[in-house]
Structures are given as C-alpha cells and as structure tokens.
C-alpha cells in the first residue's frame, strides 16, 4: 500500500476529531446544552475520513442528517460548527440551520440535509457544474442504506450515469433506517449491485477499514476526475448510537446488545490504531497526543459556542430571499 505516512496520520486525526466531537455532543445533548436533534456518527468515522481525504476544497460533498463526520472530514471548522449546534449567531448558518443543515459552500460543503435521499439530486447538480465549468472537480454524495430505496436514488444514479457526471455516490450502509433493519427494508445484501442497473461500477467495501475506504474512494474519485463517470461505493458499517440522541437504549427496541457490542469491538479507530502500531507509523504516545490536542480544540469550540450570543429575533426575517 503506497499511502504516504502523512496521509495516514491525517486519516487518523480526522477520525479522532469526529469521534471526540460526537462524544462531546452526546454529553452536551444529554445535559441539555444542545437543543433539537443530534444524529451521531460514532462508529462510522472511517468512511467520512477515508473518502474526504481524496478531496480538495474545490470538490463538493452533499451530506445527510447524520452529517457531522462528513463536514468535519471536508474541513469544517469546529467553532462555527459547534456554535451552529447550539443555535448561536456565530454558527455556520447563523444558528438558523442547526445540526442537520451545516453548510459551507466555500469549502464545497453543500449542506447536511434533513431529508433522507435529499442530497442525491443536489450532488448530481454539483456534478453538472463540475462537468460544464470545472473539469477535474468532483461531487461526492453521502447517503444511507435506507435512502437507497428513495426515488431520488434511482433518478440521480441514472441521470449521473447517462450524462457521465463526475459524481461518486457513497452509500453508508449502517444497517438501519432509523429502527428498520436493512433486511426489513430491502431484499438485497450488497447495495452496490444496484449500480449495474445504471451502467456504472458498483463496489462494496469494509466501511470500518479506513485505508480500504480511502483507496476505493480514491479510485472512484480519480475515475470521476478523468471524466469517466460516476461510481456507487457502498461502505458497510454500523451505527453505535441510536438513530438520534434520545432513541431509548441506543436502539434497544430493535436490536440486541450483543450486535451492538460486536460492532463496538470492530471499532474503526481501534482497528486503525492496531494497524498504525503494528506498521510503526505512529506510537501509542503520538496517538495519545492527537487525542489530547483534539480534546482541547473541541473544548475551545464549546467555550466559543457557549459564549456566543443567540441570533437577534430580527435574524428570522433575514435570508428568506437573497
């Protein structure tokens, strides 16, 4: 594997930021500091990190309701992000979007999206822009297993394929659409087989293996950059937490503790740490330093969010029209 050590260390750091950020959000949410809904990405970090490590600022992503990991991996800053979760004026969306709508067009983040399957056509549109005006740039669309049953999936993959758009469709198969398991919502195991129906390559990878994700996404993204069209990349993973914070017993009504435990043991970060140690890329001490550094960065973001003001009520009437 010819991945530069610098990239490998960055992958690790990105995963750690996402994990630590989400764990902090979990705690802040439980203590009533963060209002609304929080859909945590814990357990799925390898996908956002592995995919986005192949992207530059000029490439685009569309994200989902479970979007914190994607936007962090795409380069979102923690302070305006945390402030947005708090609904504060200094947030990415001036507090008007919240957890499900974090966006920064300048970083190519076309928004997390509260509608399951809502991001797919938007990624197609970004792909159209790239094809018409910015050859070499790509759009990556994150969506879940359950969204692959939405009509937008079919329309978007077909559209992107027939027009050879530079779009990579990354399906994060975490096994559940809220409470409904994959076996209950579709009669297939590998979602990537659907790619054949659109005339594009379909690949399924272990979504908890960051290097595998990185390489598979890299191949699909390079193909898109070369103008050879879209790919459907399915990354199998698992959602450790409930659908949202507040889902009783982390989804205990519809899945067993043993299943959750098995996936917790398959932790993408733990597995990567073993790889890093074994291959002498990073020492335990270096890894510990990353956690500490990240921890303090996140604490700063919390302080920033808590000290920021809420938007004035007049803000409600701004930005309805441009």
């Amino acid at each position: 594997m010819d991945i530069p050590p610098k990239t490998v260390r960055e992958l690790y750091r990105t995963m750690v930021i996402i994990r630590a950020f989400e764990e902090k959000v979990q705690d802040l949410y439980a203590r009533g500091h963060i209002p609304g809904l929080a859909h945590l990405y814990i357990g799925e970090e390898a996908i956002a990190a592995g995919v986005c490590a192949n992207l530059g600022d000029k490439d685009y992503i569309t994200s989902t309701h479970r979007g914190h990991g994607h936007v962090i991996a795409k380069g979102a800053l923690l302070k305006p992000m945390m402030a947005e979760l708090y609904g504060k004026e200094t947030g990415y969306c001036k507090g008007k979007g919240g957890s499900m709508h974090i966006a920064d067009v300048n970083l190519g983040i076309l928004g997390a999206n509260g509608i399951a399957g809502g991001g797919l056509p938007i990624a197609v549109g970004a792909g159209l822009s790239c094809k018409m005006k910015h050859p070499g740039q790509v759009a990556v669309c994150f969506f879940g297993d359950a969204s692959s049953n939405n009509g937008t999936f079919h329309e978007s993959l077909n559209f992107a394929a027939v027009h050879k758009l530079p779009v990579v469709f990354v399906c994060e198969n975490n096994g559940f659409g809220i409470s409904v398991s994959q076996a209950q919502h579709q009669a297939i195991i590998d979602i990537s087989i659907r790619a054949a129906g659109y005339g594009m390559p379909g690949v399924t990878v272990d979504g908890n293996d960051v290097l595998t994700v990185y390489l598979a996404a890299g191949e699909a993204i390079d193909r898109a950059r070369r103008g050879e069209g879209p790919t459907l990349l399915e990354c199998k993973t698992y959602r450790w937490r409930g659908h949202h914070e507040g889902d009783p017993n982390q989804g205990g009504r519809y899945r067993s503790k043993e299943d959750i435990q098995a996936w917790v043991e398959n932790c993408p970060i733990k597995r990567f740490e073993q790889y890093l140690t074994k291959n002498k890329v990073m020492t335990k001490k270096q890894m510990q330093a990353v956690w500490e550094e990240v921890e303090s960065e996140i604490n700063e973001s919390i302080e920033f969010a808590e000290q920021s003001p809420f938007p004035p009520l007049s803000e409600m009437y701004q930005d309805v029209l441009a």
Binding site: Y60, T62, G91, Y92, C93, K94, G95, K96, G97, H101, A103, D104, V105, N106, L110, G111, N113, G114, I115, G118, L120, P121, I122, A123, V124, G125, A126, G127, L128, S129, C130, K131, M132, K133, A139, G151, T152, E155, S156, N158, F159, V162, H163, Q318, D319, V320, L321, A322
Partner: protein
C-alpha cells in the same frame, strides 16, 4: 425596435439572450432539446447552444429540479422546464425542502439562482393531470419568487429578470397563451418581479387578475365602460413578492375588490388578497370581495365540462354585477 411575436417566441428570445450573455445559464428538462419543448419555447436553442447547455433529461423531475439546485449552489444559473405544472409534484421535496430553504437554512451563505418554468391552465383537452392551476400552493412556501407574465412583452422581460435574479423563481406561464401575439422589443429589457401593473386605471371597481384573466378583465372593463362603470384592472404579475401596496391603494380608491385567477376557488390567489384587504383595508370596502376562480373540482376532460371549468368573461361580469348591487 418592437415587432409582433408570440408569447412562446418572447420566452425563447429571453432564454437565448441570457444564454448568450452568460455561459452559466443552461436549460434542462424533458424534450427541450431537438424537440424544442412541448410548447416550442426552447425551439432552436439546442442547435445554437449545444446539447450540454440545452439538455434533454430523463423523465426524472426530482433529479433535474434537484440537479438545478445543486448546480445553482455551485455557480450555475439553470433554467428548468417542467412540462406541465402538474408534474412538479414528483419533485416537490426538491422545490419545497431544498430549493426554497437553502438560502435561509444556510444563513445566507448559499444562493440558489434558478428558474423553474411551468405552465398552468385548462382548455386544451388535457384532463385532470395536465390542466391544473395550483400555483398558489407555492405562495405558501417562503423562499420562492413566483412570476406570472400576462403578455409576450412581460414574458420576455420577466424571464430575463428571473434568470438574473439570485433567488429561485417559479415562472408560471399559461399553456393557452403561448400562441398569443403582442408587441415585444427586439432588444433585451427586464420587467420587475414583485411589481403589479395597473393596466387600466379606473375609479369604480378594482379587478386584480393574473395571466390570461387579465385580458378577460380588460374586455369586460371596456364593455362596462360603455355602461358608465369605470373599472380598474391590475395585472398582479407576481405572487411573491406580492405587491400588497398596489392592491391596497386600488381598493382604498374604489372600495371594491374582484380577483380573477384560474386556480380553483379554495386557497387560490384571491383568498390571500381577500385576507390582505380584510386585515388592512376593511374600512374601505363598500361591497363584498368577489373571487373569480376555477371551481373546487379537478379539471374534467369532456369539452363542455372543461369549458365550464375555465373562469370566463361572463364570470367577471357576474362578479361586477354583484359588486354593483352595493355601490
């Protein structure tokens, strides 16, 4: 210099002008390419601007409306054609939850400069799923401008304005008007979206109309003038922004309001104007507000039933007669 061309040709000129001026403008839709669009609005544009900029899409409204949202957010100015407004329902998430929300939801950091062209209206024998006039639904969704040009002149000027606008614009045409002819300047110009136009000043009765109801109201106004009734006819031209001041000023002058729009009666544009006047000019009213609208039914296919559906000049005359009882 002006010449007489059709409403469809006027729209075509606006599209050609904008595509010529700005290479970020492109067209997507079903059969808009070689076919020229079901009503020939995009005729000849693919030959002139190429297949990438005048793009035939699969029958996938959600994909191409949502695609326009994504393209607009990333620097393009897409113009999409929905063949009949009836078909926009299959792209409703993209219109309501995506297109209309992005600018606000992202704190003003994203812009969605796109146009969705639709047509409304019964009268071509196209039955219940190709004849609806439910444009007023979109008035209920903050974040969408709604343009409704009633003449070839306004069609050209408002479409150029819509394409150059940084907001999403729902551009509502009437399928019976595409062959209407009128004077249209050859050069480019814009007509604002959000400014109603007093097309016939009068002092006795106010009629606020949209699209082809404007011409019907004008015909009635000329007839009534012969009987000594001076009607003021306002072309509303846009549901959002809604030119409340123009409507209120006229109602305060005449003490009356008749609305005329082809959408079915309940919840149509007239309902909003009636509420506006009730809230802000009730003390000016000398007669009940009367709404001329389609009936609360789907559009039937059978020709006599379809004709009975369409709000007519007679319906406007009946409304005027009702108002006159109070004056």
């Amino acid at each position: 210099m002006s010449r007489i061309i059709t409403y469809a040709q006027a729209l075509n000129e606006a599209l050609a002008y904008c595509m010529d001026q700005d290479d970020s403008v492109f067209i997507m839709g079903e059969d808009v390419g070689r076919y020229g669009g079901i009503f020939q609005v995009t005729a000849g544009l693919q030959d002139r601007f190429g297949v990438d900029r005048v793009m035939d899409t699969p029958i996938s409204e959600a994909a191409f409306v949502g695609g326009a949202v994504g393209a607009a957010m990333t620097g393009m100015r897409p113009v999409v054609e929905i063949m009949f407004i009836d078909f926009i329902t299959v792209a409703m998430d993209m219109v309501v939850n995506q297109m209309a929300k992005m600018h606000f939801m992202f704190g003003g950091r994203a812009k969605v400069p796109m146009v969705i062209r639709v047509n409304i209206g019964a009268g071509r024998g196209t039955a219940a799923q190709h004849s609806q006039s439910f444009h007023a639904i979109f008035q209920h969704i903050p974040g969408i401008k709604i343009a409704m040009p009633s003449t070839p002149h306004d069609a050209k000027g408002m479409l150029i304005e819509a394409i150059q606008d940084d907001n999403p614009v729902l551009f509502v045409e009437h399928k019976k008007m595409y062959i209407d002819k009128g004077e249209v300047p050859e050069e480019a110009y814009t007509v604002p979206i959000g400014k109603a136009k007093v097309v016939r000043p009068g002092k006795d009765i106010t009629v606020v109309a949209t699209l082809n109801m404007v011409a019907k109201a004008l015909t009635v106004a000329e007839e009534m003038a012969a009987q000594g009734v001076d009607m003021e006819v306002i072309d509303l031209r846009s549901l959002c922004p809604l030119d409340r001041e123009a409507v209120l000023a006229s109602v305060r002058k005449t003490g009356t309001l008749i609305t005329a729009d082809e959408g079915c009666h309940t919840g149509n544009m007239g309902a909003e104007l009636a509420a506006l006047v009730a809230e802000q000019a009730l003390d000016s009213l000398q007669a009940p507000i009367v709404r001329v609208a389609g009936p609360d039914t789907p559009v039937a296919f059978s020709p006599p039933l379809e004709q009975a559906y369409i709000p007519s000049e007679q319906d406007i005359k009946d409304a005027v007669a009702r108002v006159l009882e109070y004056l």
